[in-house]
Amino acid sequence: MVSKKGYKNWHTTFSAVVARATMAKSATLGTSNLFIMRSGYFNSVDTDWYKKRFYRLLICIVVGYSILFVRLYYFQILKGEDLRRMAENNYVRLESLPPSRGLIYDSNGELLVDNRPSFNISIILEDAPNPEQVIKRLALLLNIPPAPLLKKIQGARRSQPFKPIILKSDVRRDELAVIKTRRFDLPGIIVAVEPQRHYLMESGASHLIGYLGEISQRELTSGRYPDNKSGDFIGKFGVEKTCGSYFLGKRGGRQIVADALGRTTEVLNTVEATPGKNVYLTIDRRLQKVAEDMLSKKISGAVLAMDPNNGHILAIASSPSFDQNALVEGMSHSEWKAVVANPLHPLGNKAIQGQYPPGSVYKIITAMAALEEGVVAADTEHFCQGYYKFRNRRFRCWQEAGHGNLNIREALAQSCDVFFYKVGEKLGVDRLARYAKGCGLGLRTGIRRDNEAMGLVPTMSWKLRRFGSPWQKGETRVLAIGQGFNLVTPVQMVSLISAVANGGIRYRPVIIKEIRDYDGTLLETTAPEILGRLPASKETLSIIKKGLEDAVNTRSGTGWSVRLPGGVMAGKTGTAQVIKLAEDRDTKEEDIPFRFRDHAWFIAYGPTKKPSIAVAVLVEHGGHGSTAAAPIAREVIKTYLELYPEELYPENTELGI
């Protein structure tokens, strides 16, 4: 080998380098007899130097891998027997600790939905030497047929032998006692406590809150529920669904040591589950109750109350309702079928999904368009003789005797059809449609709920597209009083009356007031969101408001019968025809089949001076707005002003009903 000094002068003694390199090469590999030279670019190093580096690299690798070998030897040879025993007993297992689902409160912090403990009987197949026999014994103890239980364990053995399979959920305490005393006859059977959803308001606010159901295969594979596994309960409807991610919380777990029979002998480690977040709704539980109680006297309908100053929904009810607790605890097939097949659609939320012709309530929009477009002035009068004749066709006013001469304020208060026939005729369908859309009709209000309906604002081009026939002038007249093709939802109506009440601001309807952590820390608050303004000047709105006040507070007004002392309520009645009956309709309401009866509307607000609540009531096939819908709205507003007397102006305090 060449001495170290050789490195220094390799630049000068070229041939020496070659010779040295050749020797080195032959010595180590013995494969090559050729001349060798490293071909770097500018300066370079020789093979000896490289060899030293390679030896170091080799040593590093050998040392590193030796550690792996030693570690393997330690686990597999020295500790192998212990570890194999652990493996055979499946020594360490993971047990999941489900988080408790977030709670739901009303705006005042009153609990609406919580969780109660539910005892579930499950089986771990790997721990049951003969699961079929165990299940038959269990069925005998619980006095239920074994066949459905046996079906649940089919095919599960291979895929998940350690996952508990729920055989019977929510068992009664006496059943529990029986199982516990016979434990040793039932190897592999475990009883686990799981939180179960409990709705405190029996069938209350059920459409708003929704309910839970077991996650379906389709939902599992949809990717929208990444944190859930099969068997979990998820929100299927309502706030339970839309706020689902808030309620979830974080799953905890326990590492346990189990013996050969699957009994826990030691808990190694526990990570507690983190409860989900709590949701505070904007509704007031007491107001909600009144709305529902009033509505339950009718066959079907919807009630909405809104704070006109921020869009908070104070009450939202749809009738008929359903029992959420029954849904969560599990309905029988026939019960479920009865709910689904009910022609009144108890599962549908009529407040946001129901679409109805608005009836005379729509006159607010016709009046707004007429005043804004200059079709009428505040003092323009039209004469009503009980009908409006156009080319041999008589368009009737609801008041057969006629209203005589009236201005727009009186026309609104008395809901004179003839006045609005004339005004609508001058406006034309498309101008009317522009104002309707400006008031939010034909659009979703943006209430954050699933399946909100849009309603319909007809225009000339719409009719041509839809029916292929041109618009008829007569249809505009019908439209102007809210009949015809017009369709609105109750939530659109409450938004409209709310905007009229607050001076023209259209707020997005809000149902979630705030989100708090389980320990009460405020996490999110919903800020009021302005969607737009009504297409109306202050003067126009003040005329309309006067009309609405007169409608309730003057003897000739359509809502006189539901007036509140002090004149604190203003409103508009509506009666929406379901089918076009003969123009001269003399049939009494009671003689018409239910499904052809008119829908009753009433939209209102109060107190008139400084409105703090707006209400929309729809009673499906309820008949007249003034008799079927208005009393409900009156009760809701009256209750609200009693609950929050500070909302009343001092001069209105004589409200002492």
């Binding site: 490195y7 180590t28 590999l29 494969t31 090559s32 050729l34 001349f35 060798i36 030279m37 490293r38 071909s39 770097g40 670019y41 500018f42 300066n43 370079s44 190093v45 130097w49 490289y50 060899k51 580096r53 390679f54 690299l57 080799l58 690798i61 050998v62 590193g64 891998y65 550690i67 792996l68 070998f69 570690r71 393997l72 030897y73 686990f75 597999q76 040879i77 500790k79 192998g80 212990d82 570890l83 194999r84 652990m86 493996a87 055979e88 499946n90 020594y91 360490v92 993971l94 895929s159 998940q160 032998p161 350690f162 905890g252 777990g253 590492q255 190694l268 480690n269 526990t270 990570v271």
Partner: protein, 369 residues
């Protein structure tokens, strides 16, 4: 034009070792996914990947590797662009954005970057390698070459791949020698920079490192995995439970048993003898790779070979060490054994380059170039 000597010098030993390792890999993978019907097709997919990998490997040894030296910068920039693209358009899988999707296949640009970093460093160092070793100033440019892909990959985040690039670069630098004073300076700098790095880590990454230091910290996650992995490996004992007889893996106690924890499956079923055999196969591969590096008579080839050897070597040590609780749980696959197309392609390309360097060693025998 085609040189007959290329065929004569073809590295059959390397090919045979590769085929042996890949065979062990497919057999182990078959067993790892057999108990899970949702994944049992994966070993077939892995066979496809190996087929594609063989094509890439062939391409990697047919083209003269000196071309790589000429094209090193464009190739490097291409891989950097891919790393940027993946940050914006990559597919997000369980919280990190690592995959680029092209039609039916998706791959990880971070895997490609491992090779391109080796190439760019080899090109850089092959020009100014000296007996004295590198000074801190000499290392400034290489540092830039490495830190860019490192940061991009860490942002995905894919801490395992990012650290691997750092380790490979460090190994190359140590191999070509660094001055003692510079080494101490850099080591001190690195140690003092740790708290800064720590503050950049994501929550789960901190968790993993803390879990490694203290497995009881996270009994439900990584800590549990390590315990189950240790039980699986240990219960294999001397000769193992036999093919498809591993209960730990079959009962789905092992997490990621077809990717990160596949070694546990192998060690459980084939025991100490099987595990040692597999690690020895890798050891033979590495020693053979060093032999190739040594026999290559020009600097670029030598350094590329050393880089690839350290890339494969580190992955084996980290992955196997992780399953036995020697390393924190970072997602580094076991080369040719873990399921995963990108990893298979990268390793096969690397082996192809080793073959390339091995069979072209005769080209630099004469004086001059």
């Amino acid at each position: 034009m085609f040189d007959r000597r290329l065929v004569q010098h073809f590295d059959w030993v390397l090919l045979i070792i590769t085929i042996l390792i890949a065979t062990v890999g497919v057999i182990t993978l078959y067993s790892a996914v057999a108990g899970d019907p949702a994944r049992s097709y994966l070993y077939v997919k892995q066979l496809y990947w190996l087929g594609i990998g063989a094509t890439f490997m062939t391409a990697a040894f047919i083209v003269d590797y000196k071309l790589l030296e000429q094209w090193a910068v464009p190739i490097y920039l291409f891989s950097i662009i891919l790393l940027i693209v993946v940050l914006f358009f990559g597919k997000v899988v369980s919280g990190s954005q690592r995959w680029l999707t092209l039609g039916p296949i998706s791959f990880q640009p971070s895997e490609l970057a491992k090779i391109t970093c080796v190439i760019i460093l080899a090109r850089h160092f092959s020009k100014d390698i000296t007996h004295e070793g590198m000074s801190v100033r000499d290392l400034f440019k290489p540092f830039l070459w490495v830190i860019v892909p490192f940061c991009l990959i860490a942002m995905e985040p894919d801490l395992g791949s990012a650290l691997l690039i750092l380790l490979v670069a460090g190994s190359i630098i140590l191999f070509i020698k660094i001055r003692r004073g510079s080494f101490i300076f850099l080591a001190a700098l690195g140690a003092s920079g740790m708290p800064l790095v720590w503050s950049f880590l994501k929550g789960y990454q901190k968790q993993r490192i803390l879990t490694f230091l203290n497995p009881d910290r996270d009994p439900m996650g990584a800590g549990y995995h390590i315990i189950q992995s240790k039980i699986a490996i240990g219960s294999g004992m001397l000769s193992g439970k036999g093919f498809l007889k591993g209960t730990q893996s079959y009962l789905s106690f092992l997490p990621e048993q077809h990717t990160d924890f596949i070694f546990s499956v192998l060690a459980e079923e084939w025991g100490f003898l099987g595990a040692v055999t597999m690690i020895t196969l890798f050891l033979v591969l590495l020693v053979w790779g060093i032999n190739i590096a040594l026999r290559s008579r020009e600097n670029f080839g030598t350094i590329v070979a050393v880089g690839i050897v350290s890339m494969i070597g580190w992955q084996v040590v980290i992955n196997v060490g992780m399953t036995m609780g020697l390393m924190p749980v970072v997602g580094v696959p076991l080369p040719l054994i873990s399921y995963g197309g990108s990893s298979v392609l990268t390793v096969m390309i690397g082996i192809g380059l080793l073959m390339n360097i091995s069979m072209r060693r005769f080209m630099f025998q004469r004086f001059g170039r």
